[in-house]
C-alpha cells in the first residue's frame, strides 16, 4: 500500500510540472493581456514599457523564465510575487484558501445531506409522485446556470437588495475567526447555490444506482433472510450504491477546492476562485500560475485519496 501511494505521489509531481509548463505556454501564446502594458497604461513610452518588463522579469526568454520559476518553487517553495499587488503568491493563496474550504466543505455536507435521502427515496418509491418530483427537481437543478442562480438568490433573499430580506447578501463574508455567526450566515446562500447542481446530479445518480442495486441478487438474499426493509435498503442497498458516489464526491471536492469561480464572484467571497478570476483579468501571471498549480494539486491529491478510499470501500478492488 505504501509503495502504491508513493508511486502515485511521484507521478503526481510529474503531472504538476507538466501542468505548470502548460500554463506557462498558454499564458504567453494565447492572446491574453500583457501585464506590462496593463501596468504601464496607454501613455507609456516604449522605454518605460521596457523598464516595466525588466522589473517584472518578462524580458528573459520563455524557457529561462520557466526555469527560474521551477527552481525557486522547488528549492525555496517560492511561487513568486503578484505583478499587481506585490504580495507573494503563497501568501495570497493562504489568505484565500479558508474561504474556499468553507464554501466547498459546507456545500458538500449540504448536498450529501439532501441528495442521499432524496435519491434513496426516489429509488424506493420508484414511479410514484415522490420519484417524479425529485427527478423533475433534479433536471431543474442541473439545468440552472450557477451564476444565474446566484443572482436570482441574491435578488430574492439577500437582506440588502432582495425581495424577501432573509440572508446576508454579496460581499458579506467575514473570516470564521472574526465572527462565526456572521461567517455562517454569509455562507448560507452561497452554499445553497453551489450545492444545487451537485444535489441534483448526486440524487439522480444515487437513484439510478439504488434501483440497480436493489435488483441485485444479494438484496434478494437479504430479504430472504428476513431482514427489515430499512436494513435491506440502507445497509445492503445504499452501502453498495453509494460507493461510486463517495469517489465522485472526492473528485468533485478536489475540483471545487481549486475555486468555485462562479459562486465566489457572484457573492464576492474572497476565495481561490475569485483570486484566479481577478488574476486572469489582470494578466497577473504569477498568481494565475499559483492558482492553477494549487487546483492541480488538489485534483491530484483528490484522485489519490479517492483511489485509496475506493479500495477501502470495495474490498474486491484491493486485489487488483
Amino acid at each position: 500500500m505504501a509503495a502504491y501511494i508513493l508511486r502515485r505521489v511521484l507521478w503526481g509531481l510529474v503531472l504538476l510540472v507538466l501542468v505548470s509548463a502548460l500554463t506557462f505556454v498558454v499564458f504567453y501564446v494565447l492572446p491574453s493581456a500583457d501585464p506590462a502594458q496593463l501596468r504601464a497604461g496607454r501613455s507609456a513610452s516604449p522605454e518605460t514599457l521596457a523598464q516595466i518588463r525588466e522589473s517584472l522579469g518578462l524580458n528573459e526568454s520563455l524557457p529561462s523564465q520557466f526555469w527560474t520559476f521551477l527552481t525557486s518553487l522547488m528549492l525555496h517553495a517560492d511561487l513568486g510575487y503578484s505583478y499587481f499587488s506585490g504580495a507573494s503568491v503563497g501568501s495570497l493563496l493562504i489568505d484565500r484558501l479558508p474561504a474556499t474550504l468553507a464554501l466547498t466543505l459546507g456545500a458538500l455536507v449540504l448536498w450529501l445531506l439532501v441528495a442521499v435521502p432524496v435519491g434513496v427515496l426516489a429509488a424506493v418509491r420508484r414511479g410514484t409522485w415522490v420519484d417524479k418530483l425529485t427527478t423533475g427537481g433534479a433536471v431543474l437543478g442541473i439545468s440552472m446556470p450557477v451564476y444565474w442562480l446566484g443572482l436570482v438568490a441574491l435578488y430574492l433573499f439577500s437582506d440588502d437588495i432582495g425581495l424577501i430580506p432573509l440572508l446576508p447578501g454579496a460581499g458579506a463574508y467575514v473570516p470564521l475567526t472574526e465572527d462565526p455567526g456572521a461567517w455562517f450566515a454569509a455562507l448560507v446562500l452561497p452554499w445553497l447555490v453551489l450545492a444545487s447542481t451537485f444535489t441534483a446530479v448526486y440524487a439522480r445518480l444515487l437513484r439510478g444506482n439504488m434501483i440497480e442495486v436493489l435488483s441485485e441478487d444479494y438484496v434478494r438474499t437479504a430479504r430472504a433472510k428476513g431482514l427489515s426493509e430499512r436494513r435491506v435498503v440502507l445497509r445492503h442497498g445504499l452501502r453498495a450504491a453509494a460507493t461510486p458516489l463517495v469517489t465522485l464526491a472526492g473528485l468533485d471536492v478536489g475540483l471545487l477546492l481549486g475555486g468555485a469561480v462562479l459562486v465566489e464572484t457572484v457573492f464576492n467571497i474572497p476565495g481561490i476562485g475569485s483570486l484566479s478570476y481577478d488574476a486572469i483579468v489582470n494578466a497577473d501571471y504569477p498568481v494565475i500560475q499559483g492558482t492553477v498549480l494549487l487546483a492541480a494539486c488538489f485534483v491530484i491529491v483528490a484522485n489519490i485519496v479517492v483511489d485509496i478510499l475506493y479500495a477501502y470501500l470495495d474490498p474486491r478492488v484491493r486485489e487488483a
Binding site: A33, G41, R42, S43, P46, A87, L92, S274
Partner: protein
Amino acid sequence: MPHSLVRAILLGVLSVTAALVLAACGSSGDDGGSAATVDSGKDGRRGGTLTLLTSQDVANLDPGITYSSLDLNMLAATQRTLYKYAPDDPSNIQPDLAAGPPQVSPDGRTLTVRIRRAVRFGPPVNREVTARDVKYAIERGFNPNVANPYAPQYYGTVVGADRASGGPIAGIETPDDHTLVFRLTRPTASLLAEATILPLSAPVPQEYARPLDARSPSDYGNHVVSSGPYMLEADRDGRVLGTGYGPGRSLRLVRNPNWEASTDERPAYLDAIEWRIGGRPGVSGRQVLDGEGMILGDTPPPALVKRAYQDARDQIVFSPGAGNRYVTLNTAIPPFDDENVRKAVAAALDREQMRRIRGGEVVGDVASHFLYPGVLGFEEAGGQEGTGVDFLAEPRGDMELAREYMRRAGYADGRYDGDETVQVVGLAGAPDDANAQIVDQTLQELGFDTNLRIVDASVYYSRFCALPRARVHVCPNVGWIRDFADPQTVLNLPFNGAYIFPENSPNISQLDDPAINRAMARGELTVGTDERASAWAEIDRMVIATAAAVPWLWDKQPNLSAEDVRCVPQLWNQGHCDFSYTSIE
C-alpha cells in the same frame, strides 16, 4: 455578417435600449437632471465611515506608479501633490502642497514653487514635509523599479532627466526646505506646473523609501506613507499590505493623525473609508442604491442607471467632462489612407444613435471635436458647436454627403468597391459592443466588406488597436481621458506622429501629418495658459480636418451613491466622490 441580419440585431438592440432611453423631457442638457453635480462640499456633517464598492482592485498603491481614475481618487485623499483641482473646478489648478500659485519664468524654462509649512507625513515617518521630499518623489519616477508612465513625458524636459535612472536630477533644485525650482531644457514650465497635479509630485520620504525602491519592482506601494487627511491603515512599521490593504478584498483609509487641517482646504468630514473589492457591478450597484453609507466605484450597468435616474435621481450624478470617445480610422493602410474616404465615414456615422444606445442625453454630449468640456481650449476650438467642418455638421449623420465624399475618393457609385476587407475590432460588453455594431453597419452601408471582432477590454489595446502590426482598420471604442486640464494631454499622444510605437501605441490612427506634428511640437513649448489653449484649439481643428478619427461622445460618467451620502464629485476625475469633501448625512 449579412446586411439584413445586422439590421435585425440592431433593431433588437435598439428596442431593448429604447427602454433605457431616458426621455429628453424634464432633463436639462448640461447637468443631466441631477441635483448635485457641482458641489463645493461646504458644511457637511462630520463623522461616519463611507464604503466604496468596486469590482476591480486597486491597480497600485504607489503614487509614483498608479494611473487609474479610481486609484487617483484614493490618492487624492492620502497624498498632497504640489497642485490639485477642487472637486467643482476641473479647469484651474489650486495650490495643495504648494503655498501659492506657480511662478513660471517668462521664457518658460523655470518653474518655482513654494511649499507650505507644517505639513507632516503620516506615521511611521511623522516629520515635516520638505521640498526635498518632492524632489525625491519625482526622481524615483525615473527609477526602473518604479517606471512611472508619464514621468518622461512631463518631467522629461527637466535638466538631467534624460539621463536619470533613480538618482538625483540636477534640474530639480531645493535652495531651501520649502522652495522647489525646476530648470528645464525647453520652455514647458506651464505644462509642468499643471502636470504636478498627477500623483508623482506627492512627497516621498527618501530615507524611508530608498531601501524599498531598491527592490525590483519597488515595494514602496506596500509601505506607502501619507501626507493628506487620510492614510492607509498600516502596522507599526508602515506596512499596509495585510492591514489597510487586502489584495483583491479590501482597503481601509483612516484619518492621518498628523494631518493639520489649517494647512489644507479639505474639510475631511469622514472618519474612515472602506473599500469592498470584488463584487459584480450589477449587484454592488443595487446594494448602493438600496443601502446606506455606500458609493459605487464602477460604472453602473445601463439598467441600474435607468432605475436610478427614474426612482432615485438624487443618488446618481452624471459627471461631465469625463472623457471623449471616438472611432479611429487607420490612416496607414488602405482604404482609410484616403482622406476623402475617412470624411465619408465621419459624415455617415449617426452620432446621435451612438449616444442613444448608451442611454441618451444624460450620458453625454454628441462630440464634434476632441477637446471636451472642462479641458482648456474647448471653447476656443468651437465648444459645443464644433469646428465647422461639413462632415461633422449633422449629428445624425449625412449619408448624402458621405456618398459625395466617396465619389471624390474615386468611387463613382458613392460606395466602396475595392478589395480590402475592413477589420473592425470592438469592445465586449454592453453597450460598447452595440456601438461597434453601429459603426460596422455604417461601414457596410458605405459599401465596405467588414469583419467585426468583439474582444475583451484587457486585450482591446494591447493585442489589437494599439498594435500596428495587427492591421486593424477601425476601432470604434477608443476614447481618451485627459491627464489634466491642459489640452496637450488630450491631443498629443493620440494624434502626434511621434507616438506611433510598435506596441502599446497611443496614436491608434497612426496619423502622421507633418503640419500637425510641427504644430504640436510648437504647442508643447507654448508658454502661458491662455496661449496654450489657443494653440491647441487650433491643433484640434487641424486634426478634425484630417478625419483621422471620428469623435462621437463627450462622456458624462454616471456615479451612484446611497441616499444618505452627500457625494462631492471630482469633476476632474470621472465624477468619483471625493473622500475629503464627501459626507454622510
